[in-house]
Assembly symmetry: C2
């Protein structure tokens, strides 16, 4: 019997609602497939935790999480309670950075039965490979001067090592897919970092003569997700560009409520973390209408990157059968409740 | 007789094709309305100029341009000839920064008859107010170390003065429109600059109790342009965020080929500059199918910000009548050539 030890952090807002749904699904997956079991331990780290304890997690929080095979996260952040940069740098970004989860994988693929927001979405299937540890997400910088003279400086830090790594992963992925890597750049506007990014991309491209490669500026590329998504395959972007493109990818899928992601630790020293792309959506908390698909599709990625690719594929097929038959929450134009969508997935997993 | 002295810079690629079209239109506008004339002087500053002279413009280029009422630009940049960061920082961004064109205004509004890429675009009418002089577009930073240890540092610089100015303009605009300002932030991920941006936005919001205001993270906001564009009115963003959102705005309008923009100098010391949002599109050069609407709509903004609001409105009405009747280039799904679309606009201006 293989046991996966999972630290679950429901977090804030709808995170607390969708986490139990995804856990129900994973328990059912284990039951159906046999030979696999989950041990979940829940951690209450969140904005509410901050309000009580003055920190997003205790001093030994990272140590405790590091004992698990994976971290399974709901959603973090609620600006009405704690400023976002405090809550995110104290939990989500802290885990990504300290656990060296340097790669974020984010598929944007239209599920059957879901109405894309696009007039003519064709059959797009994109994976965004996001550099996940540096770039625009740096705490280096600060402020100077007072009153109207004040300025803030933000340092973006790009390393060749992490940039290459993200690009190599993108080319690897593309070799198993349609064979195209698109690099998100902005070398026309961002003077130092992006020409650097482009040079590295060129170097890596040359090492992969069998993979097609192209660069597009982030502004044009975000537009391209809307006008030509079916022309894309693997897209590699910096921390910020990957962030933006994966939300645009979620929107063209029909709702940010469906999009999954995997924060991968590649050196084996720490757990990876799996979390949906959407936020904590305080406005729909308590209504029972949160879309559980983002978290459940994320559970699929958790299976995939824990060596259970076949089981993962089966789960994705079931998710898609359920959306195809119209079991959809209101964000997708459907009339079903969160639990009804989950129930249907669980029912079909057993069939 | 009022004379507007205009420096025209066709630039690269399709810039050279659409510029004569917009000038034809402006000449016709002057003829129809009377009391107004244009004097155009053309400047060949471009990537081709660079290849000949080793610079995007001569030493006295800025001095010469500064003599005009406005600069009218086509498109700059062609990475097959000159690296983008060289061509753009040597011309477009140089003019924006040295002429203190600190505000960029970019409408995203669906023209009649044009098929949006969105399934259900409703009737959106957004103006993006982009801070245009600082932020992520800074030449401060550099590189250190060699080989795989190399890192690049990019400094983003945000001043309270320029940030406030962009926000004040956004609130002013909103007071004449639907009364909502949405701020593009990323204070959850970008540690110093964006919390600073948010604080200033809060301060300015409080001074405008009659205008509704809200903040959205750039990733979610880019998605929101796709899912809920009709809920937006004025959007204020940093240099990079405004750049990205205005391209997304162009995409939901149906084609980047239609989107206009105005780079405004507010202190009266230098000319403003008007340019379409799209780039030089080397792939369609010479085919006669470039969409002239972006440049012509930009001519409308040139009129508007040179004190000719009524004439400008008339021109926009004519543009819209022409698109409504199906005179559209292939990027919009139409079958008309660039010159045919322009001819029709000119014909109707005379009616
Ligand atoms: C060409 C490039 C530097 C420019 C920018 O990023 O400002 C363009 O994308 C724009 O939006 O005008
Ligand atoms: C919450 C925020 C810090 C985060 C990010 O920007 O990475 C989120 O948008 C995401 O995409 O996971």
């Amino acid at each position: 019997m293989k046991t996966l030890n999972i630290a679950s952090i429901p977090g804030d807002g709808v995170g607390k609602e969708i986490m139990p749904e995804a856990i129900r699904v994973l328990e059912k997956v284990a039951q159906v497939h046999g030979g696999l079991q989950f041990k979940f331990e829940e951690f209450p780290y969140s904005c509410d935790y901050y309000l009580k304890h003055g920190a997003m997690m205790p001093e030994d929080g990272m140590d405790r999480l590091s004992q698990f095979d994976s971290v399974f996260l709901g959603a973090v952040g609620d600006a009405s309670k704690v400023p976002d940069h405090i809550s995110l740098w104290g939990l989500l970004l802290k885990i990504r950075q300290e656990f060296q989860q340097e790669i974020n994988i984010r598929p944007a693929k239209l599920l059957k039965g879901i109405n894309s927001k696009l007039a003519d979405p064709k059959d797009f299937d994109i994976v965004v490979v996001r550099e996940n540890s540096e770039g625009e997400y740096s705490s280096i910088g600060g402020r100077i001067f007072h009153d109207d003279n004040e300025i803030a400086i933000q340092n973006n830090v790009f390393s060749k090592r992490a940039t290459k790594q993200a690009m190599n992963i993108a080319f690897d992925l593309a070799s198993k897919r349609k064979g195209l890597v698109t690099s998100a750049t902005k070398s026309n506007g961002i003077f130092h970092a992006m020409p650097f990014w482009d040079e590295i991309f060129e170097e890596i491209s040359e090492k992969h003569p069998n993979i097609k490669s192209e660069s597009k500026h982030i502004d044009a590329l975000a537009a391209y997700f809307i006008t030509h998504p079916h022309e894309l395959d693997v897209v590699v972007g910096s921390n910020l560009f990957g962030d933006i493109l994966s939300d645009v990818g979620a929107a063209i899928m029909g709702s940010i409520g469906v999009a999954p992601s995997a924060n991968l630790n590649l050196n084996g020293k720490y757990p990876s973390m799996f979390e949906p792309v959407h936020g904590s959506a305080p406005d729909i908390v308590g209504k029972g209408i949160a879309n559980p698909i983002g978290q459940i599709w994320t559970a699929k990625m958790l299976l995939e990157f824990n060596g259970e690719a076949n089981i993962a594929e089966h789960l994705l097929k079931v998710i898609e059968a359920v959306t195809a038959d119209g079991y959809q929450t209101p964000d997708l134009g459907g009339k079903y409740k969160m639990t009804e969508v989950t129930d249907e997935i669980i029912k079909r997993l057993g069939q």
